[in-house]
């Protein structure tokens, strides 16, 4: 499952074991993740695999959805709203804070 640094995809792992493989550029919207992957200074840099123990699968899924949504609608106006289930709101806010997105 390990991917090389050059790969354009990265793997994000939630604390309950879900793995999400998304484009590197999309993931780098989060400065936490970007710094984590930026150089091979740390372990994640060389494996392209990030464990996000603070997030559970459902939240990380939404986060990844947002990453892709953001990537897709970059530099656009009149973008349709993204659907956020109210029950995830608080957790997503915390995740956003944690990931500095």
């Amino acid at each position: 499952m390990a991917q090389s640094t050059e790969s354009e995809f990265v793997t994000l792992v939630s604390n309950d074991g879900f793995e999400f493989i998304i484009p590197r550029s999309a993931a780098c919207v989060s400065s936490t993740i970007r710094l984590r992957l930026a150089s091979s200074k740390y372990k994640e840099g060389s494996t392209g695999r990030c464990n996000l123990d603070e997030l559970r699968g459902a939240v990380l899924e939404k986060v990844c959805e947002y990453f892709c949504y953001n990537e897709k609608h970059k530099d656009q106006v009149n973008v349709p709203d993204m659907d956020i289930p109210p029950e995830l709101c608080l957790e997503l806010l915390m995740a956003a804070d944690y990931l500095d997105t």
């Binding site: 372990k43 994640e44 603070e54 289930p85 915390m94 500095d100």
Partner: protein
């Protein structure tokens, strides 16, 4: 919607702030601290970012971020103090410390250099490690930074950089010594630069890194640009040493006493410093150090360099050392936008050279014929006419030489200006001014220049292409630009031109026209107006001649011997009449033409006045020529025919001999009474007919060079020439020459009269428009109006104003300030 809300309750996150408690802090910090130490020792690749990040995150969630911040700072400080500082201080060898005290470094340079390089390398490595480590720490503590930094504390990265500054650079080298690592660093780098300046090769990248370190560190936590350690500590020191160095360097180069070398080396130094700043120090230092270099090396020395005896600019100018001049120019331009030092010398030199040219143009004719020169000051004696020929010819040559010399000087400086002075506008103006200066020192400039044109239009342009002619004329025009008294030039030019036109000496009418259009461009319409009308007269006259011939052919007087007439009718106001009227305007009786000519003259007058009634024709025989067919009877009875081309006067004289029986002659007085030709012209014509060796149509008795009133003239049947057509020029009449003293006086007087008129006209024009004007304003306006033509004398204008007041064109309106009013 409301129903939906109700069903999906917003649930609290599973872990909250309340969840954490203070007990965990110490244990988490222990884990973090060990991770940070790993980072410091460059073992980070085994660490998981996520883990450290999460730990920091947790601590921040516990609201213990400030504690964490302090802890991290403490940890880093300890690390720097214990590990890094020892490493660096160990690398400072005693030679570096010693060298700091004694500035004289040459004796131990290689040792010091080695030690210095070692020290710099260690310091650089330590810095880079620290930078890298702190970068990583900042990354993992990002969350903490966001919580803490913005408010009271600088970001952790900045804080750690400050730690490096305080605990490494500002640390004493030896316990208790005031010398800090920073001092050693500074002196080492300066020492390296010193080495490089004296021609050694040093390890630039190393120094560059150290400089980058200084640029990356700030005095204060807010990191303003101006508080960079580089700017506060290193740069002043660097500039101080540079200043000292260039002061000494300036002295040293000056003592070498070679301007070219000075400039070359100085230019080189500038390039070196530029490069040094670019690759080793900081771009921001470049203007400062160059400014300093300009000040120390150039500004204080340039004047001396320029004036350096034997090698200075003067020599460069004389030897066309473009390279050197370019360097001087560049240097001078650096320190002085006006380039005064250089300009001054160039100007002096131009004027000097110009004066030489002026002097040589005077000397040349004097050297071979001093006696003749003396004569020309006295009254012109008829007997001396022949003698005067030579010096005058030489003077003409020297006049043309003068122009040529100036042109070549001009070319030389144009060349220098273009190649060495980067076509600088200011320089051009000042070079031009210098030229004008010395050209106007020669009071005969206008005459000489006009002669130059005359010469070229007569002979010079033969066999030249159009573009060459163009260049030649342009050159002349350039000089014209410098001449102040353009009206004087106009007078001379008109005079010379009229000779060219009437005697058909001009090689190409196209060139003449070209010349005029050039003058028009340069000096203006008004200037060429009269000259142009001269051309018009010429064309009209041509038509007139043909018309007249047709008319004669039609009316047909078959028995009359046909005499061809080619006539030029000239408008008297446009042509310089003084060349035709021989002496100061004394009303002279027209010469008596022989019968044949007289009838022709009358017939033309009839023809002309028929066409243009109310005009008066006055005949100017002195400018004309005539073709005669003469038969010489040899002693053996054979007749030899020649066609003689002579001046009108000579023709009149020769025709007299038609009525004289063979073997008899006419005396000078007889000729005079029968022709009424003026002495002056008569002598000259007789000289060319009887004295000039090749064209001796008449015999003179007694045979001598001079013509005396008692001389007798006989028709010379032995006249012999290899050609059938013989051209007999009039002595000293035909060619345009330098005027002698008397003629010049006349010209000057005429000039003055004309100027008086011009000045009056200008004054009246101005006053008519302004009605009243103060004296000084009137002066300035008049001067500016006239400056295109000549530079009038202020006294002259004053006199004109007086005279206008006398004649009631103007009146004095007020005395304080003196004001004039226009009287309508």
């Amino acid at each position: 919607m409301a129903a939906m809300r109700a069903r999906h309750k917003i649930r609290a996150p599973r872990r909250g702030v309340s969840h954490a408690n203070t007990e965990d802090f110490d244990s988490i910090w222990t884990v973090l601290a060990s991770s940070l130490t790993e980072i410091n020792t460059k073992n980070a690749s085994t660490l998981a970012f996520e883990e450290i990040y999460r730990h920091a995150y947790k601590i921040v969630l516990m609201m213990r971020a400030p504690d964490l911040y302090e802890q991290v700072k403490q940890l880093e400080q300890d690390w720097l103090k214990t590990n890094v500082r020892t490493l660096i201080i160990d690398s400072i060898s005693s030679s570096l410390v010693r060298a700091k005290k004694s500035t004289d470094a040459q004796d131990q340079s290689s040792e010091r250099r080695e030690a210095g390089e070692k020290f710099l390398t260690v310091l650089k490595d330590a810095w880079e490690d620290h930078q890298l480590g702190m970068g990583m720490v900042t990354d993992v503590l990002m969350y903490m930074d966001r919580m803490v930094a913005s408010r009271t504390h600088p970001p952790i990265y900045v804080a750690c950089m400050a730690l490096f500054r305080d605990h490494i650079l500002r640390a004493p080298v030896r316990a208790g010594s005031a010398l800090t690592v920073m001092d050693v660093l500074e002196s080492t780098i300066l020492f390296m630069i010193q080495l490089e300046r004296s021609g050694h090769i040093i390890e630039r990248p190393l120094i560059r890194h150290c400089i980058q370190m200084l640029e990356g560190l700030y005095e204060t936590a807010t990191e303003e640009e101006s508080s960079k350690l580089y700017l506060t500590e290193f740069e002043p020191a660097f500039l101080r040493t540079s200043k000292k160095f260039y002061q000494a360097e300036g002295q040293r180069l000056l003592e070498m006493g070679d301007a070219a070398t000075f400039c070359r080396l100085a230019t080189q130094r500038i390039a070196e410093e530029e490069e040094r700043c670019r690759y080793m120090l900081s771009i921001t230092t470049e203007p400062k150090v160059l400014e300093l270099l300009d000040e120390q090396l150039i500004r204080s020395n340039i004047e001396e360099v320029v004036n350096l005896e034997g090698t200075g600019v003067r020599r460069m100018l004389d030897h066309d050392q473009l390279e050197g001049l370019r360097n001087v120019y560049m240097l001078n331009k650096r320190v002085d936008q006006k380039k005064q030092a250089l300009t001054k010398l160039v100007n002096t030199r131009i004027v000097e050279m110009g004066k030489e040219i002026n002097a040589s143009s005077v000397l040349l004719p004097q050297a071979p014929a001093p006696s003749a020169e003396k004569d020309s000051k006295g009254e012109k004696k008829p007997e001396k006419g022949k003698d005067k020929e030579k010096p005058q010819n030489q003077q003409t040559v020297s006049a043309i030489g003068w122009v040529d010399d100036i042109l070549s000087l001009k070319r030389k400086f144009d060349d220098i200006w273009e190649k060495a002075f980067a076509s600088d506008q200011g320089m051009q103006a000042s070079i031009g001014a210098s030229f004008a200066n010395f050209i106007n020192m020669n009071s005969r400039n206008s005459e000489y220049l006009s002669l130059f044109f005359d010469e070229n239009l007569k002979k010079g342009i033969k066999g030249k292409t159009e573009s060459e002619v163009d260049v030649l004329l342009d050159n002349g025009i350039t000089l014209l630009r410098y001449i102040k008294d353009k009206d004087l030039f106009e007078t001379y030019y008109k005079k010379h031109l009229s000779r060219r036109l009437l005697m058909k000496r001009s090689v190409s009418m196209d060139a003449e026209r070209q010349m005029i259009s050039k003058m028009k461009l340069e000096v203006g319409n008004q200037f060429t107006q009269r000259i142009e009308s001269m051309f018009k007269d010429m064309t009209i006259s041509e038509d007139l001649t043909t018309n007249y011939k047709e008319d004669i052919a039609r009316s047909g007087d078959p028995d009359q011997k046909p005499v061809d007439l080619e006539i030029n009718v000239l408008t008297s106001t446009m042509w310089p009449m003084e060349i035709m009227a021989s002496k100061e305007g004394t009303a002279q009786l027209p010469c008596i033409f022989p019968r044949e000519i007289d009838t022709l003259k009358q017939s033309f007058e009839r023809f002309y006045l028929d066409k243009h009634s109310g005009r008066k024709l006055s005949w100017q025989a002195s400018m004309g020529t005539g073709d005669l067919r003469a038969t010489f009877v040899r002693p053996n009875g054979k007749a030899q025919r020649y066609e003689l081309n002579v001046s009108t006067y000579a023709m009149v004289i020769l025709l007299l001999f038609n009525d004289v029986p063979d073997g008899e002659g006419l005396t000078y007085d007889e000729i005079k009474t029968r022709t009424r030709i003026q002495d002056h012209d008569l002598i000259r014509n007789l000289q060319s007919l009887a004295v000039a060796p090749k064209t001796r149509v008449l015999k003179k008795d007694p045979m001598s060079k001079d013509v005396k009133p008692t001389d007798r003239f006989l028709f010379n049947h032995e006249f012999h020439s290899p050609f059938v057509k013989v051209r007999i020029g009039v002595v000293s009449g035909g060619a345009n020459k330098v005027e002698n003293q008397d003629q010049r006086k006349v010209t000057e007087k005429k000039m003055n009269d004309e100027r008086n008129g011009t000045i009056e006209a200008a004054i009246v024009r101005i006053m008519k428009q302004r009605k009243t004007l103060t004296h000084s304003q009137l002066m300035t306006e008049t001067l500016s109006q006239l400056s295109a033509r000549f530079v009038p004398d202020v006294n002259m204008i004053k006199r004109r104003i007086e005279s206008l007041i006398d004649r009631e064109y103007l009146e004095r309106v007020s005395e304080e300030p003196p004001t004039y009013g226009y009287v309508a």
